[in-house]
């Protein structure tokens, strides 16, 4: 079946194909009583959601609230256990993404589904049946893509290979892919998490022009600012149920936050005034390569002081990960030096660096930071099982380990029945508390914290941030790597921006302007560097 695009600039789409139209206009999407369970979890517990035609509808909720699951049901990736989907007044069954596209629903996933070695246009027409001819109608396709791109501000070269594109451009390709398939309802899953502030404002412009052209957009996010900025209405999802749907103009951030979390939320953590101390870490002209052998760090130099948090901002994949690995001995430096209190780290093993008092909160806290099948007690010892009193003559002292574990669980409020519970049974917040309890034990001189609050709920996030600030007051030097710009701005004393393995600028946090940081993240270099 061929369906033509809705005529541009008509906000109200004719709904003649729907029979049971109430009051002239049926909602574009109606989800009724959706239930979806996975082994051990109820992801959606009777969700009712109505999305009106031509609106930008935000789906707000914390990580794990069930937003993505709900949208995957709408996109046909999951089948609901119970409940119905009604599109334009008609009840439908969406058994696959192909069916979803037939119903003109498109989705842009958080992690893109593109083939890197193919060109933009090849990706866009991938899997489409373009009529009886076996040849790809390149000229026509290209023209069509260019038209769509121009109309909605999605400029991208149709003949470029996807691997050559920036993350922001790849997202445009994903949107074009959905539009090319004549999507009428577009689901965007956390689209801003990979973008610079400038790219975000470009994306928002595109979304508005899409709505003007008659499309309906469901926008999944956990960021309150975005909700206020872009949406017409917002539905808040908490623990698998909708706890409220409101017009954005009639609400504010505080109300939404309360709905989302279920209690009052403190937005600002108190950052005490602390005088920074002597240089703890001095990095000079550091080079390294990534796992594919390509240049990841290209001569970076900075100093980090005691009682200071140095935030490292940047779009993911610009060398942050490799920087944390080089500084913790997990990756070899190709050239240059990192000196910790007169000790060159670049030739030390991970164990030697840890023993020098360098704590590492790794990006992947479950895959790297813990042994999921081992107990809390054992995980807490991961870096000190060789030291007295935990080890004597090569044997482990279980009594000392137990005492240590019980103390740590209390101090960091790791909630579990006892310390013999396997780490894999802990929630994300508790796993991060466990990692912090282990890493911060013994007052490290240097803390490398990579994405310390990523994926945590609001309560755990607050606790992690307070812990870091406490360490700062105690004299630790902290390198904070994060993609959450708000977090960087809130916690850091200075902000360092990385782009393609080089430092674009270092600026004091109290004078930092998110727009300027955005420009640096996109690769424009700052002249003056603050030390």
């Amino acid at each position: 079946m061929r369906i033509s695009r809705p005529t541009p600039r008509t906000r109200h789409h004719s709904s003649s194909e729907s029979e049971s139209v109430v009051a002239g206009q049926a909602p574009a999407v109606e989800l009724r009583g959706i239930v979806k369970t996975f082994p051990g979890v109820v992801a959606n517990d009777g969700v009712d959601l109505t999305v009106e035609r031509g609106e930008i509808h935000c789906l707000l909720g914390e990580n794990g609230a069930g937003k993505t699951t709900l949208m995957r049901i709408l996109y046909g990736l999951y089948q609901p256990d119970e409940g119905t989907i009604v599109l334009n007044g008609k009840t439908v069954t969406i058994s696959s993404p192909r069916k979803a596209l037939e119903h003109r629903i498109g989705m842009v996933h958080q992690h893109f589904h593109l083939v890197p070695t193919l060109s933009v246009e090849e990706n866009i027409i991938l899997g489409l049946d373009e009529g009886p001819s076996p040849l790809l109608h390149s000229r026509r396709t290209r023209a069509k893509i260019r038209d769509l791109a121009k109309e909605f501000g999605l400029e991208v070269d149709p003949q470029a290979k996807v691997w050559q594109l920036s993350v922001g451009q790849q997202q445009r390709v994903e949107i074009l892919k959905a539009l090319y398939r004549k999507a009428d309802v577009l689901i965007m899953d956390e689209p801003t998490s990979v973008l610079t502030p400038q790219e975000v404002s470009g994306l928002f412009g595109t979304l508005r022009s899409l709505v003007d052209a008659g499309l309906t957009i469901v926008f999944i996010t956990h960021k309150l600012d975005e909700v206020m900025q872009i949406s017409d209405r917002v539905s808040v999802l908490r623990k698998g149920t909708i706890v409220g749907t409101v017009h954005t103009s009639e609400t504010d951030k505080r109300t939404l936050a309360r709905l989302m979390v279920g209690r009052e939320v403190v937005f600002r953590v108190e950052k005490p005034l602390v005088e920074r101390g002597a240089v703890v870490l001095s990095v000079k002209d550091l080079h390294t390569t990534n796992d594919r052998g390509l240049k990841a760090l290209n001569g970076i130099s900075f100093d980090l002081y005691a009682s200071e948090i140095l935030g490292v901002a940047g779009v993911s994949g610009n060398g942050q990960h490799e920087l944390s690995e080089v500084l913790t001995g997990l990756r070899r430096a190709g050239h240059g030096q990192a000196v910790l209190q007169a000790q060159d780290l670049t030739h030390c093993s991970a164990r030697e660096i840890a023993d020098l008092g360098v704590a590492h909160v790794p990006t992947e806290r479950i895959r790297v930071g813990t042994v999921p099948s081992m107990t809390i007690r054992e995980n807490l010892l991961l870096k000190r099982y060789r030291q007295a009193p935990f080890s004597r003559w090569g044997f482990l002292n279980d009594t000392a380990a137990k005492t240590h574990a019980e103390g740590a669980m209390q101090e960091y409020s790791i909630s579990a029945p006892h310390d013999g519970v396997a780490a894999k049974l802990l929630s994300g917040g508790n796993i991060q508390r466990l990692v912090l309890a282990r890493e911060l034990c013994g007052d490290p001189a240097l803390i490398i914290a990579a994405h310390p609050t990523y994926g945590l709920d609001v309560g755990a996030t607050e606790q992690v941030r307070e812990t870091l600030l406490q360490q700062r007051s105690n004299g630790a030097a902290i390198l904070l790597i994060s993609e959450d710009l708000d977090e960087i701005l809130q916690l850091s004393d200075r902000i360092l921006v990385l782009f393609e393995g080089e430092i674009m600028g270092v600026l004091p946090a109290d004078q930092a302007d998110p727009n300027e940081i955005g420009l640096l993240m996109a690769g424009s270099r700052r002249q003056e560097v603050v030390t």
Partner: protein, 363 residues
């Protein structure tokens, strides 16, 4: 679809002990049932065959002692394998490690000229070192160069087999053996003492039981064991914690290979009293012990039980070969079926299945 929606499958995080035991027993029963088809195909009642196996293993004094002597190499190798498997190293090469251990022991017994009292200890030490060296080669290849451990350990079995063939046909061929491909018999001081007139070479059995206890303590209570477990359970976390993957893998495989090497010493010094054809020396113990270690769920102490269980099967295989005129390979088929069902049943332990009795609301 309606039916399916009433069955709930839940992930089980840590299976309780009764689940592990009952699933393991269930896997063995399933293997017994399927193996029954093969007995049927030979026109023999499976019940009669299993009865014969049990009678063969337990029905007489000879049966019991022969079962125990077959458990000895399975115990030694199985204990070693639990440690290698804990470190996530798939040692399929115990067969070869056993053979090089036997070669080392034979060399010392025949050619070292050591005084009598030192001969047997030297043979055990030499056998352990040879097996360890044979195990360390694939361990180094894997941890340094990332070469697949299953392939290298398996291929090194063939190298060991042909080394033994070459020795007994060539340089070590016994002048007194009238043209047979054996070495000369060991001197009396190189022969292990046995329990009475049985073939239970008890010093090896003692070593095996001691090794099971040592391995258990090693894994559960020592620093080295902690490192082995961390590497096996999560290599990324091991690297992050500064645990050397190379060191741990080499250590685990030195132990695993060394244990197999000592099993080889026991076979030549306790049973054959000479080095002979590789198939006669190993008796397939190197492969059977993989199932022994797996059935023990990588717990060294449990190997004492599972090694005995498989010794019953091997002894029973000998018996049905004679009493029912069946090929011995049938026992290998049976062993294969047990491993197949054991590995297949793993998934049952990780999930809990429940049936929802109450009628669900129609969509």
């Amino acid at each position: 679809m309606r039916l399916l929606s009433r069955i709930h499958v839940e992930r089980r995080t840590t299976p309780p002990a009764w689940v592990v035991v009952s699933v393991s027993v269930g896997a063995i029963i399933a293997a017994l049932l399927v193996a029954g088809i093969f007995f049927r195909a030979y026109g023999i009642s499976p019940l009669r065959a299993y009865g014969d196996i049990l009678r063969g293993a337990f029905g007489s004094r000879l049966g019991i002692t022969e079962t125990i002597r077959r458990a000895i190499p399975l115990l030694l190798i199985g204990v070693g394998l639990t440690v290698a498997f804990r470190a996530l190293f798939w040692n399929i090469g115990a067969e070869g490690q056993l053979l090089v251990g036997a070669v080392a022991a034979s060399g010392i017994a025949l050619f070292s000229g050591l005084p009598g009292a030192l001969l047997l200890p030297a043979m055990f030490i030499g056998g352990f070192l040879a097996g360890a060296a044979w195990g360390i080669i694939p361990a180094a290849l894997k941890s340094k160069l990332g070469i697949n451990d299953v392939i290298t350990t398996l291929m090194m079995n063939y190298i060991a087999i042909y080394i033994v063939e070459w020795l007994i046909h060539g340089p070590w061929k016994g002048p007194t053996m009238r043209g047979f491909a054996y070495t000369d018999p060991f001197p009396a001081a190189a022969v292990l003492s046995t329990v009475g007139d049985t073939r239970i070479h008890w010093p090896t059995l003692v070593i095996g039981i001691a090794a099971a206890i040592i391995a258990y303590v090693l894994v559960k209570r020592t620093r080295a064991g902690f490192e082995i477990r961390v590497v096996g359970e999560n290599p990324h976390a091991a690297k992050y914690s500064g645990i050397s993957h190379v060191k741990v893998t080499l250590l685990a495989m030195a132990f695993s290979g060394g244990m197999a090497g000592m099993a080889g010493v026991g076979e030549v010094a306790g049973i054959h009293h000479m080095l002979l054809g590789p198939a006669n020396v190993t008796g397939g113990y190197g492969y059977t012990a993989i199932i022994v270690a797996w059935l023990a769920r990588r717990n060294p102490l449990a190997v004492i039980v599972t090694a005995f269980l498989f010794a019953v099967l091997l002894r029973g295989g000998d018996v049905i070969k004679v009493s029912l005129g069946l090929p011995f390979q049938l026992v290998n088929v049976f062993n294969g079926l047990i491993l197949f069902f054991l590995i297949g049943s793993d998934i049952l332990m990780r999930y809990r299945i429940s049936f929802d009795r109450k009628e669900r609301r129609a969509a």
